[in-house]
Symmetry: C2
Subunit: 438 residues, 2 copies
Amino acid sequence: MTKSDLTINRLASTDADFRSRLDSLLQRDMLIGADVVTAVKDILQQVRDRGDAAVLDYSKRFDGFDVANLADLTVGKEQMQESLDQLPASHLEALQFSADRVRYFHEKQQQASWQYQEADGSVYGQKITPLDRVGVYVPGGKASYPSSMLMLAVPAQVAGVKEIIAVVPTVYSTQNSLIFAAAALAGVTRVYTIGGAQAIAALAFGTESVPKVDKIAGPGNIYVTVAKKLVFGEVGIDMIAGPSELTVICDGKTDPEWVAMDLFSQAEHDELAQSILISPDAGYIETVIESVRRLLPGMERQKVIAESLTNRGIFIQSESLEQAVEISNIIAPEHLELSVENPEELLAAVDHAGAIFLGRYTSEALGDYCAGPSHVLPTSGTARFFSGVSVHDFQKRSSIIRCSAEAADRLGRTTSTMARNESLEAHARSAELRFKQK
Amino acid sequence: MTKSDLTINRLASTDADFRSRLDSLLQRDMLIGADVVTAVKDILQQVRDRGDAAVLDYSKRFDGFDVANLADLTVGKEQMQESLDQLPASHLEALQFSADRVRYFHEKQQQASWQYQEADGSVYGQKITPLDRVGVYVPGGKASYPSSMLMLAVPAQVAGVKEIIAVVPTVYSTQNSLIFAAAALAGVTRVYTIGGAQAIAALAFGTESVPKVDKIAGPGNIYVTVAKKLVFGEVGIDMIAGPSELTVICDGKTDPEWVAMDLFSQAEHDELAQSILISPDAGYIETVIESVRRLLPGMERQKVIAESLTNRGIFIQSESLEQAVEISNIIAPEHLELSVENPEELLAAVDHAGAIFLGRYTSEALGDYCAGPSHVLPTSGTARFFSGVSVHDFQKRSSIIRCSAEAADRLGRTTSTMARNESLEAHARSAELRFKQK
């Protein structure tokens, strides 16, 4: 494919083969090669068995870091603070603005413990406690993403997590400072410049240098994703994430260049990213496609955008805005823009979406950087059951039960009946011993 | 081992080898045989490829159900209602009492959507939606557990889930009616009398008869657990559960028979279940052990209890009640009884526990049947990061962002700076296009 090659996938909901073409373009079956799974399993085993030494081997092999000691890939609070102190004013201001807004939003998610008392003096409730220690995987590689550091670590900080360990794959030296500065703002305890399955393994099992964490959050490449799935249960995992996606529903009255650029902003992430436009206005769809063709040659990531749009981009003509929402519910997109006059009218009908952007002015990019909610969101249709990263991910609930003598009798009678029905005699007798009248 | 064989594992926190003996008795490394994983993978693949036919083959092989059609293993609303209508009054009363209390507790967990508005007219918030369709795995085999049907399905019902599909492994005919009656009370849509990895596969992938669900909750044997882990990501999963456990912290003043029976109630579940007593009172520990020896021979499940206590039971002498809580935090037990005079004084120090039972009258068994909170709780130390099944498991959050023209400008400036720092030009331009002053 040359730089300017672009194929547009154009569908109409009235097409006889609409659903089959939609499903085929969505490509939701996560096909993971057996070789990837084998490689990841080997990495997990090596790190489990050999700790730091294995992590160093992989860092040398995959990231080109040839160091003798994991301490050389460790960044502490002091170095983070230095990075923050040395930032140019405009960068610092942007980072601080973002961190403050993300913190403000997540403080609203704070859960409180609660209890209620019944007439007999018994108390029932739920106690909320933060996780002790979490790991955040901040993706990187081709570039570095200080925004993701904030979007993962700030919710953990708000949740009250005592120790936040961040891992960051190979970052170019000029960009390190932003990542470390963001870590400082988010209260990260320590950063390791390690990545891939070996970083997930180090966090899940612990090594001589890297402490074992209770939960790992954050997206990564296919090796990271497979590693997260394999260590699930050993530690908690936020979600299983795939390529990023955006669905825009438009009434045909938003500046077509705005929508074209929004579609590009998703497509530029990588070749597997997915951008979808749904509109009841056929003429408008054509205008957006014209804008896409006109704007594409000027884009820095032209090649990635063209490939993403060709392989996975979809332009769908629906019969109405209501039907557009129905189609979006089938897609269950990570990001959904309701680029229409009265987005609130459509909102109630949206069943599945990681984040919903209402109105023409709300570009998805604002959510990526500073609107407030975390930009780490469920992809590939998993918004049907996963939620975006939040304070909830970094806290847990313990049930509280405090029975009075009266309640032990009253609840004990039911317990005894049900336990004997389930052939659990000791359960029954444990309740019966506490009866008031035996 | 003969019926009466019993070995008591007695530890003191002052022992030089305390921590290593504790860790060894906790046996937290979930060692899953490669043969189990291979068998489960094969079952998943078969059900994915052959649907109903594969499920029927496994039901015949593992459960002895020789039927031609999955319809013969399907129980609809009408049959559930019939089971409910035909229950003896005392059973119905107990089931209804339990369902009502579980519903009441979980209604307190209901999450509300929220929004806030900023000065420039922008709105940010979180929208809560129930999952469309969930699967609950109600364990069974040796016995049948209507209580688990309630503890899984009622929270889903309270969450607003439209369709609740229950799977129940082989149940003996006399006990079916209680399971189906419980399903009726919990608003279950349909029950399939299938179990094991094949039931998880059917729920995760869907077959001709079993609809694909969005999330699966509920504990099972090692095949079920491995299957849940393997389908995680394809569907949501509540948690990875192991054998049940109880830790009792006692000040030495609770009737030793009560505590002995509480320990039995956990041990009777299965040979891998774990019962632990921690007390600063050495004499009291001896009294409880005497009660254990005296009461054991009269128990219906004597053999299972003896084996569980011998292999995994632990009697720990701590230096103080405070230290007992510290030890409990290392264990991070599924169930924790604070069988002391002033349990509230210890509660704040409890960091990790699935459910906490306060006071001498609150036997763990009450929580299993009718206190209110779900009895499906994190095991094997995973209370460090998992929570018990709740309404939260059956709902998800979507972020809401609605920016005014002013906010698009203000947030857009930060977005532009940060996006360009991350080499994401389209993100920056998508924000810049909406600047008021360009």
